[in-house]
Amino acid sequence: MVTKVSDAKKLLLNVNNLSVSFDTAEGSFDAVKSVNFDLNKGETLAIIGESGSGKSVTASVIMGILACPPGRIKSGEVFLNDLDILKLSDTDRRKLMGSKVAIIFQDTLSHLNPVFSVGSQIAECFKVHKNLSKKESWNRAVKLLERVRIPNPLKRAKDFPHQFSGGQRQRVMIAMALALEPDIIIADEPTTALDVTIQAKILELLGELRDERNMGLILITHDLAIAAEISDKVIVLNEGKIVEKGITRDVFINPNHAYTKKLMNSIPGKITKKKRKISKKFSDPILEIKNISKFYDTIACDDVSFNLFPNEVLGIVGESGSGKTTISNLILRLASPSNGKILYHGQNILNFNKKDLFNFRRKVQVVFQDPYASLNPTMNIYDIISEPWVIHSDFLDKKSHKSKVTDLLISVGLHPDDAIKFPHQFSGGQRQRIAIARALALNPEIIICDEAVSALDVSIQAQIIKLLLNLRNKFSLSYIFIAHDLPVVKDLADRVIVMKSGKIIEQGEVDNVFNFPKEKYTKDLLKASPSIEKLFS
């Protein structure tokens, strides 16, 4: 066994010259290149970087769960309490996993086993490492659920993962990680899929537990604002290499490396907008939503009214379940409202006959959140973009399809040769560009963007936002921009609607609502939304 005397007693983890590569059919590529860092007791280290930067691979190595093959650790040492875990046998390493170092994952629905109760999944930690009795393990699991503030833990322990909300599941994950009081918790994008207010609570809980037990916390995130809010130290990874490391405040205020600077500039919410006065008083609205409601088993949308003006970006913000997507579905006529009217240039679209509706659909297009799921993997880009013209055959002569596809690809910043490729050959940002090109195919007046940039890395997000704004001017479009991410809406929208439980809480000019919110809910949302500005104050 290799041991190393640590310089200071409080050093928990030392990663030294770690390099990891993946062997694939196309050859071997380096995912992590000579990474060095360390972590002390009671400290939070943020590892930031975009997808594919090697953040999660580094975490898997520390947790001993890197799949080998295809993964291969080329070099390096990972000292955990003076013990190089890479040199341990599987059995010895397994004893440390979960007990000395534990991990919290992003997508809790898939990371918790769907067929076992959450209580038994937490209790398993005690059975594995402490050989406690079934009953004792269970009691401790219930106590942990109580600690992470799951209401009614005695009863909820018997429930299964799908019976919890996303935020609660993350609490269950945290309880599981805490079970054996590890020295280090690695949180791999712990709040990415959560609403801002829930995210704030989870981060608060993690910080609280870190202080209570004097643990080291490694926070892996693509969200710079979160890193800014809760970390002490930060390392910036790009293509497997550490491009910058240091005290969080220093790195954020005074980034040295070009990549870090680019990341900092991509953070949404900082764009200083040139004020474009929309002559609203002189133009009629394209779309008037009048008192629409939609009832499923619950009230999805309750007495909602708003207008959309030509060439305007209207942001709709709110947490999951607030009715944002329901409104989008109603406008697209994918669902019919229970009450109310939707007027398009003064005509009620709910009274449209088949032909009117067919023509209306050209004018309203949509871009969805997940560019991996929303493009048909068996169609090439040419077919995807030209399909609307096949359906609306009178729109464009067949001979012009090719040149129009080329035009559209160029206007969304892709190459005309990309037409013969398939979706899987593109990155997430490129796929979203394809989705936008498809939405533009029928010269729409309105494009609904339903969380269209939520799945993208910050630098890509910034590019897509810029693209959307350019396209608005070029094609005189109006956008309804649905998002849970407030800074993005701040960058893009002219007016904003804040929704909660199917109702509009507040609406108005973006700058007014964001800088001088009137309603308590809006204030709470803004407060919960992490921002790097606090570092500067």
């Binding site: 947790m63 979960g98 991990i103 918790l112 086993n113 769907p114 076992f116 109760s117 594995v128 799908h162």
Partner: protein, 305 residues
């Protein structure tokens, strides 16, 4: 779930009723039982009397009405050949087949779970490669040929096992062995496929990060999730055997439902055909309901729907 089950049971009853009506009419399309039952030179009067006695001369709707009337009294008719209530004959045969099916399926399932899981643990490893070839061979082996070859080797040449008949353990070995081969081969492939998916799931990563032993990762965390598709195929296979392991029963002289059904169709023993089909249908539909229950037991997400 309870509502779902009662719906399933109700639709099963409908299916049995439909099946029953069909069997009644289709059986009578095969011709006059008298042709097969009576000696080939039987005089016309004897034939008339035979038909009269058993009601075969009545218009078919009257026969059907009578059949329904008997059915409400729980009477499934008398066997022409054996002159006993048809239901008694069927109830003697069905346990033979069911015990064959139960033993064969238990062995096939247990074996497939073990082999398939280990193969899935290291896809394309040496164990996986061997098991893939062997399971494919097993899944495509013609059972009549295997059965006859086995008799030739183990009974005739080596003299280790009895050629046919029922009795103690030695009598069971060959029939069970033959019945296991095909479901085992098929199930190994299904288990392998679904376990590869289960083992690459995120929750397996979580289990490993907890320090859970690999054995537990495979046979607890992954297997519980990987079993669902396996259960469906296993149920199908079990139903196929319950439906009459005709070839095995015939070759090894086991008086099961498969052999009984074939014999009574050949003899136009309508009452026995009807009774055996009714009982097998009930067995098969019960297997399907058991699969549904197994699904709910294994997966809480289905249970809570």
């Amino acid at each position: 779930m309870r509502q779902y089950l009662s719906k399933r049971i109700f639709s099963s009853i409908l299916a049995i009723t439909g099946l029953f009506v069909m069997v009644f009419f289709l059986a009578r399309l095969t011709g006059d039982p008298g042709h097969l039952y009576l000696p080939i030179d039987a005089p016309l009067e004897v034939r008339k009397e035979f038909s009269e006695k058993h009601g075969f001369n009545d218009p078919i709707y009257i026969q059907f009405g009578k059949f329904l009337g008997d059915l409400t009294d729980g009477n499934l008719g008398y066997s022409l050949r054996k002159e006993r209530p048809a239901i008694d004959i069927v109830l003697e045969a069905i346990p033979v087949t069911l015990s064959l099916a139960a033993v064969a399926m238990s062995i096939a399932l247990a074996g497939a779970i073990l082999i398939g899981s280990l193969a899935a643990y290291r896809p394309n490893g040496i164990f996986d490669r061997i098991s893939r070839v062997v399971s494919l061979t097993a899944a495509s082996a013609p059972d009549f040929w295997v059965a006859i070859t086995a008799i030739l080797i183990f009974s005739v040449s080596l003299g280790w096992l009895p050629t046919s008949g029922i009795g103690g353990v030695p009598y069971w070995i060959m029939p069970i062995g033959i019945l296991v081969i095909r479901p085992l081969g098929l199930l190994v492939q299904v288990v392998r496929g679904s376990m590869i998916t289960a083992l690459s799931s995120d929750f397996v990563k979580t289990a490993r990060a907890k320090g859970v032993k690999e054995k537990v990762v495979i046979f607890k965390h992954a297997l519980r999730n990987g079993l669902l598709p396996v259960i469906t195929v296993a149920g199908d296979q079990a139903a196929a055997i319950a439906n009459g392991a005709v070839i095995v029963e015939t070759i090894f002289g086991w008086p099961g439902i498969g052999k009984l059904m074939i014999d009574s169709i050949m003899q136009r023993d309508f009452a026995v055909v009807q009774a055996s089909i009714l009982i097998t249908a009930i067995v098969i539909l019960s297997i399907n309901i058991i699969i549904d229950i197994a699904y709910a037991v294994l997966d809480p997400r289905i249970r809570h729907k």
